[in-house]
Amino acid sequence: MGKEEAELFAPRLVTTEENFAPGHRACIGCGEALAVRHVCKAMGKNVIIVNATGCIEIISSLLPQTSWCVPWIHTLFENVAAVVSGIESAYKARARKGKIHDKDVKFVGFAGDGGTSDIGIQALSGAMERGHNFLYCCFDNEAYMNTGIQRSSSTPYGAWTTTAPVGKKSIGQTTWKKNMPEIAVAHAIPYVATACPSYPFDLMDKVRKGVEMGGPAYVHILSPCPTGWRYPPNLTIEMGRLAVETGVFPLYEVINGEYRLSFDFPNLKPVREYMKAQRRFRHLTDDIVEKIQARVEKEYLRLREKAGVE
């Protein structure tokens, strides 16, 4: 059987069990809820999830209901990696002391881009530096969507948000997206990857690798957001695909410092194709789009070099 045929059968190999149950309150077409569902399928039941304050937390845990079929805890916005550190250490100490049976539980942190690259970066950096055995998933929808589309350090250049509005003297966001995966790589942890729910098998593979590598693992998941990006909700999968195919959000892994491109596009699609359906970019003039195009190409080339692609 060839690779293409095998891929046709791949969906049947994915569990039909939902550990992130339907019936939650996410917006129609939510890329983040889809990504969480994939991540939960990949991790299985033997897991404890720590969730930051944000979209996923509020849509999944409105008292007295819950969407979580696995143990789940939310405390604050910026401390996910710290709470995971404590849970992992508790299991480690108690198993060593014979107080519990060691059942190889996986520990996972979930946070958005604000909870990761802004307010939660200190706790995350500390946990990665200390080397706890955990997976951290950043669900990046490129702004504070839960509070109503405010800019974060992960918002792309030129995007409109409610705190980076477009005006006579502003094009919206005037800073380039913080490269959070590279910051994770700089901590010399065993596993870093980028993923997107438009590529579900790639995403699930990376999550499995992340929890199985041992040590801190970081997976940065682009989660298209129809509400905040201002596109029709039926285009979520397409938005993720275009982000990857234009080079705006390349999919890659860094295993023990070694880069590997998950998908390579020697001829990237123009960024305009990705941006045109999103009303957060509709105000951009040609020269700004050109500037973004040049930056994307330069970054993509740099990444290919790191991955050793000629």
Binding site: K45, N46, V47, I48, V50, E57, I58, S61, L62, L63, P64, T66, W68, C69, V70, P71, W72, I73, H74, T75, L76, E78, N79, A82, V83, V84, S85, G86, I87, S89, A90, Y91, K92, A93, R94, R96, K97, K99, I100, K103, V105, Q122, A123, S125, G126, E129, R130
Partner: protein, 387 residues
């Protein structure tokens, strides 16, 4: 033994599973000592050297939710950085135990003792108790585990030891052995710990239709911790011969005037009371051992025959005087017969309070009562201030 080492010894005897702490003066000797114990294998625990106090408390929350016995310690600015996280274990009923080496707050920078840090967190729902010497620091830390982890309590518990006065001072102590402590502190088992075999969702989102009920439940449960605290101290007294009360009284027989203090300066205050008693004055001393939950009935009982209550605060509630004095007045307000209350503020930022100043407070308060009776307004006096 140094107060910091006494606390560390109590944590070792309690056999904590996870310790997460960040260095800050004057608490640092506690974490140093615990690090040594873990490094030498005297305590089998995971020591998480965190990057901030916010993370220290967050890691304790996670570990406690996963069913571990946990410990952290901090002081001053560190407690303030933890502030946001402190609400989590009290509302999620996680029995985190913390020791605070009380310290002043910036600015200006001061590493020395006062009670500004502990007063800033008094409304959070942590059980708060104070030690006056190193033996008490040890005893109360042990008791904190027994109290916090009781399944009818499940509230985080904080033991306050005055920075430097206790944390860095060496005193003689009596220590129990491991077996005696094992009999006093049972194995900890949180009823709903995070476990893949029994999934629970913790820390859910509470909209207006349910949030107030969660707070009512928390308040009722918090007030109900007092009988358990008393029971623990009673049993501790039976086993180890040292007895603790919610409100401690010293030479209060027939006292018409009472001084109220908290923490290490109480021992100096006792000397002042001794001197005044020797001079024939009918004065006594009351100390609040338990600060939260506030021991209303025990406090009212302690002052029922007192005509003048003189309250010392080691903290300023700016624009409102001293926090302890305010709360004491409010605790007395509903009583038909109540003493005059005069508040002073002193001992800020590590300024010592000598015996003479305690005597001065009492004498000065008598004058202030006369002014009150004349209908004059009196201000909270800060003692020992150079003009």
């Amino acid at each position: 033994m140094e107060g910091s080492f006494a606390v560390a010894e109590a944590v070792r005897l309690a056999n904590a599973d996870v310790i997460a702490a960040y260095p800050i003066t004057p608490q640092t000797h506690i974490v140093e000592r615990l690090s040594e114990m873990v490094a030498d294998g005297d305590l089998d625990a995971e020591f998480i050297c965190v990057e901030s106090e916010h993370t220290a408390m967050s890691a304790c929350v996670g570990a406690s939710a996963a069913g571990a016995r946990v410990f952290t310690c901090t002081a001053g600015q560190g407690l303030e950085l933890m502030h946001e996280v402190l609400y989590i274990p009290s509302s999620m009923r996680l029995p985190v135990v913390a020791v605070i080496a009380n310290r002043a707050l910036s600015a200006p920078l001061s590493v020395w003792c006062d009670h500004s840090d502990m007063m800033a967190i008094r409304d959070i729902g942590w059980i708060q108790m104070l030690a006056e010497n190193n033996q008490q620091a040890f005893d109360l830390t042990l008791c904190a585990y027994r109290i916090a982890e009781d399944n009818e309590v499940l509230f985080p518990t904080m033991v306050h030891i005055d920075g430097f006065y206790l944390s860095h001072v060496i005193e003689d102590m009596t220590l129990p052995d491991d077996e005696e402590v094992a009999g006093f502190i049972p194995e900890y088992k949180h009823p709903f710990a995070l476990d893949p075999d029994k999934p629970v969702s913790m820390g859910c989102y509470g909209p207006p239709f349910i949030y107030p009920e969660t707070k009512k439940a928390q308040e009722v449960a918090f007030e109900n911790t007092i009988p358990k605290i008393l029971e623990t101290w009673r049993e501790f007294g039976d086993l180890f011969g040292r007895h603790y009360a919610l409100v401690e009284k010293y030479r209060m027989e027939h006292a018409k005037i009472a001084l109220l203090t908290m923490g290490s300066c109480s021992e100096t205050a006792m000397l002042a009371i001794d001197e005044m008693r020797a001079e024939g004055e009918e004065v006594g001393l009351i100390r609040l051992r338990l600060w939260r939950p506030f021991p209303f009935s025990e406090f009212r009982e302690a002052v029922k025959d007192v005509e003048l209550l003189v309250v010392l605060d080691r903290c300023v509630s700016f624009g409102m005087g001293g926090p302890v004095c305010s709360e004491v007045k409010s605790a007395l307000y509903d009583l038909r017969k109540k003493p005059n209350v005069v508040g002073f503020i002193g001992g800020l930022g590590g300024r010592d309070i000598p015996i003479e100043e305690f005597k001065y407070m009492i004498q000065s308060a008598l004058g202030k009562v006369k002014a009150i009776e004349r209908g004059e307004e009196i201000e909270t006096e800060m003692i020992g201030i150079r003009e």
